[in-house]
Every structure is written in C-alpha cells, then in structure tokens.
Amino acid sequence: MLEAQGLYVALRGRPVLRGLDFAARPGEVTGLIGPNGAGKTTLLRVLAGLLTPAAGTVLLGGRPMAHCHPRERARRLAYLPQERTVHWALAARAVVALGRLPYQPLGAGESREDARAIASALEAMDVAHLADRPVHEMSGGERARVLLARALAQEPQALLADEPAAGLDPAHQLILFRRLAALAADGRTVVAALHDLSLAARFCHKVVLVHAGRAAAAGTPEEVLQVEHLAAVYGVRGRYATLDGVPVVLASDLLP
C-alpha cells in the first residue's frame, strides 16, 4: 500500500538515500531498523511526503505521492515524528484535536465528526481521563500516548512512526507497540522506525534493514536479524533467540 522505488535523497550535499526500494502492506507492522545515520528518519520523511526525493517515486495506495494534495494526503497518512516537544502548554484533548485539522476548512470550528474522532482516539490510547491535563504535566509515557492519539484522530489508512517508544519504560513500550499491532490488525499500514531489535523482532511482521542509504535486507524478523547481517551492518556479535516464547535479539559483543 505504501511503496517506494529507487529513492535518491541528498541532504546538505551528502547523499543519504542511494537507490532505496521499500514496500509496506496493509495489515502488517513494518519495522525500519539500521544504525544511527543510516537514513531511517529521512526515509520516513520521504514516505510521509515531507521531503521530495531527487530521484525515485513514492506510491500511496498505488497513486504517486507527488500527485496527492497535502490535505488529502494528511487524511490518509499520519506521521508521528521523533520530536515529542509540544511547544505550548496545551491540554491533551487540544493536542489530539490538532489531528482533525486536515478535515476542517479554514475558519470552521470543531464538527460533531471531529468530536467523535477525538473522543475515540483518546479512548483507544487510554488517555481519556487525562483530556484536560496540560501535556507538559504528564509523564513521558502518557505524553507518547497522547501524541499517538493525535495521529489516530486523523483516521489514517497509513501510520508512520519515528521511534515511537524511545525513552519509554518497558511497560509503555509494550503498550505502545501492542496498540500499533492492533492498528495494523484493523487493516492499516503501519511503519515504525526503531532501535530496539527485540521489540522489532516481537511486533513487526516484516523488517527492513537500512544500511548506507540502501535496503540491505528485507523480510521477516527471523530472516533479517541473522548473525551475518548483525555483524555486517551493526558490527556486533549477536543472535536471534526465543525466551519465554518471545523473540529476543542479543548483541553480546563488539566485533574488532
């Protein structure tokens, strides 16, 4: 549902993506993994339509992204950036309400549709009881849930998340990724960039390993998170294992 072919992107003169191909299907959580600086965030921004590649195409539901009007795109695709700053002391509900902007013509207030979508997004992320609380007064985990609720309020078919669980406690990591998995199960296309290889192994149906601007490997977590790939891309000795029925990726040592 979300595809990219032959993406070339250069930032500040340095090439970041060099001929990268990508595909994500509805009903699946697709994980983007790779070392720091590999180009994961850049790839997500291109897929979200925020960055125009120098070469290559992005297709959303079969249609080229370039032909999609930004507001139309915003109704079909939600992007959750890595940056979790909320610049003003808005209440949670007001933050989630921002997700309805693509549906509101200029000068219009909140419609009943909007109110319903906001309420259900708050419910889905279990933050309805925090609706009137300023976001600044929340814990990291609560804030992450509110921001994901904002993306849900857009009622998108595709959801792109950049490190959605970074810096969260283990409980919130599980909560967040379980929710993403549930969203995928509902028929949406979910793409998430992440560093935690165990989380990727556990929750992603498919994983794309990005290295030096290309897709070094793509497939199921078990296929991609092999010893050779971990050594070649991360420079670590590691392996894929199962513990208590849950997949785990362990990096035991640095390679010389």
Partner: protein
C-alpha cells in the same frame, strides 16, 4: 473555583466578546479624555473640530496600532515558538522607523504621501529578513533576541545618521519621537494613509492561526497535517511588515505591547496560538488605548511619551519573563 480559574474556562467566543467589549469601552474612554481631563473644554465649532480632527484620529490610531502590535507579537511568538518574540525586540519596529525616516528626509513623502507608510513597510520587511538570516531558520529563542538586538542597533544608528546628514536642526528631538513613539496630534490624513495597510497586514496575520496551532507539534508534524509552511512564513512576514511598518511610520516605535499582551492572554486562550491571534489584536488595542488615556490624565503632573510608558511596564515584564523561562532558554 477562583475567579481566575473560572476566567480560564471561558470559551473562545466568550473570550473574544469580552475583549471586544473592553476595546469598545477603551475607545470611548479615549474619545472622552483630553489634556484637560474628561470632557471637552470648548463649545460649538471648536468642540466638533477637536472631537473629529484631534480625538477621533488619536483613538482610531491607538486602536489600530495597538491591535497591529498585539497581533504581530502573537503571530511572531506562535510562528517562532518563542515567547520572547515581539516586533520591537526583534528589530522590526526599528527597521520600520528607519524606512520612514528615509522616506521623509529623502523627500519621497513630499512627492507622494503613500511613500511614508511604504517606507515603513520596506524597512520592516528588510529587518525581518535580516533577523532570520542572522538567527538562522532554526535558531533558539536567545539567538533570535540577539539577532534582533543587532538589527535594532543598526537601525537606530542609521536613523541617527540620517537625521544628522539631513542637516535637520531638530535631529535630537526628532530622534526621541522615533525611539519613544507618540500618538499626539496625528491627523485623519495620516490615518487614512496607514489604516488600510495596517488592516491588510492584520488580515493576513489572522489567516495563519491553524498553521500556528499545528506548529505546536513542530514543523514536521505541522507539514504532515497538510499545512503549507512556506505560505505561512510568507503570510507572517508580509502581515507583520504591513501592519508594523505602517503603524511605526506614523507613530514611531512603541515597544513591548506585542510581548505583554499575548503573554497575559495566553492562559485565557487555553495556550492555543490560533485563538491567541484575534485575542491579542483586541487586547493590544485595549492596552494601547488605556495607556494613552493614562498619559493624558498624567499630563498635568508629568509629561510622558507613550513609548516610555510601554517600556516602563514592558521592560521589567521582559526581565521577569527571561528569568521565568531561563531553564528553557538554553540556545
């Protein structure tokens, strides 16, 4: 629930209605007060002359200029995500004053009256561009203030130079007018000249509310919500240049209105930058009109300029604001 907390529960429509009523009241008060206190100390023809040619322009100018300053302050703060942004602090008012001074002393405004606010407009726009170039698109709050300081210092120096070179015997007194501002003895003609530009600028600024709301989440998120950031930047620059440029060309630099009004009203606007725009427009009008009334009531005791009054209130407020947000201000 305390009165303050209850006030914060005001819905947007109620908030704007209250502010609107306050603005109308302040306007009426400004018409009623003169150098001799409340009322007009004359009869017949002199009375109507005073009311229509002196008090009315002063009140209208106070409302429009106050509105422009309040609104542009809120727009800059929302767009730059920086609670310290304000037209005079960021050097825009200084640039506008320089443009106006050049228009006068190069004889352009003698040839074409519109050259005066146009000069202010051009100066304001150039100052904005200079500040953004200096501070960089992603400069932190302190970097922006420093860049604004640089631009206003240059503007002030060039104004002094221009006044000197023009062999103006009134150079030092005129300098005080530009630096400290004045609403006194302005005429309807000047109002007709600047009002359309101020209204146009304010109109442009009022359209960026949604984008400012979305920018709460950062540029990427705002863009992903389908909003055009480049267009918003253009609207903010054009709107500020038009409104602040035309205002400063007629009244000189009046500082701190755009800093205080959005900050005070922010809790009442539920911290939403979009709602803060019309609220700050009305709040700015109220603040400037009331300050002007206070000025006239104080006249028998002490002779003050409007810019001095706004600085006396605004500068300590600014210092307090810096302390309050000190922890968040690491550049």
């Amino acid at each position: 629930m305390s009165a303050a907390a209850r006030a914060r529960r005001l819905g947007p429509a109620r908030l704007l209605a209250v502010l609107g009523a306050a603005a109308v009241g302040a306007f009426a008060l400004s018409l009623a007060v003169g150098p001799a206190g409340i009322g007009i100390d004359a009869g017949g023809e002199a009375r109507s002359l005073i009311l229509t040619e002196i008090r009315l322009p002063r009140a209208l100018l106070g409302a429009l200029v106050g509105g422009s300053l309040g609104l542009s302050g809120a727009a800059l703060q929302g767009y730059l995500r920086n609670p310290l942004a304000e037209p005079s602090l960021v050097g825009i008012s200084g640039g506008a004053a320089l443009g106006a001074v050049l228009a006068i002393h190069l004889g352009l405004s003698q040839a074409l009256a519109l050259a005066l606010p146009a000069g202010g407009l051009a100066g304001a726009a150039l100052a904005m561009i200079a500040v953004v170039a200096l501070a960089g698109a992603h400069g932190g709050p302190l970097t922006l203030i420093l860049a604004g300081l640089a631009v206003s210092s240059i503007a002030t120096a060039l104004i002094a130079l221009a006044l000197n070179l023009a062999r103006n015997p009134f150079a030092s007194v005129e300098m005080v007018f530009w630096m400290m501002g004045s609403l006194a003895d302005r005429s309807l003609a000047q109002l007709w000249l600047s009002a359309p530009l101020m209204l146009a600028g304010m109109g442009l600024l009022l359209t960026v509310g949604r984008t400012l709301d979305a920018l709460t989440l950062g540029e990427d998120a705002a863009q992903s919500l389908g909003l055009d950031l480049a267009r918003a930047r253009l609207l903010v620059v054009a709107g500020t240049a038009l409104s602040v440029g035309a205002a400063t060309a007629v009244t000189g630099i009046i500082g701190f209105v755009g800093l205080i009004v959005p900050h005070v009203l922010r809790p009442f606007a539920h911290h939403r930058p979009g709602l803060l725009l019309p609220a700050s427009l009305l709040g700015g009008a109220v603040m400037l009109l009331l300050a002007d009334v206070a000025l006239r009531l104080l006249q028998p005791v002490v002779e003050l300029r409007i810019g001095v009054l706004s600085a006396l209130i605004g500068a300590p407020f600014f210092v307090w604001l810096v302390f309050k947000t000190r922890s968040e201000l690491a550049p």
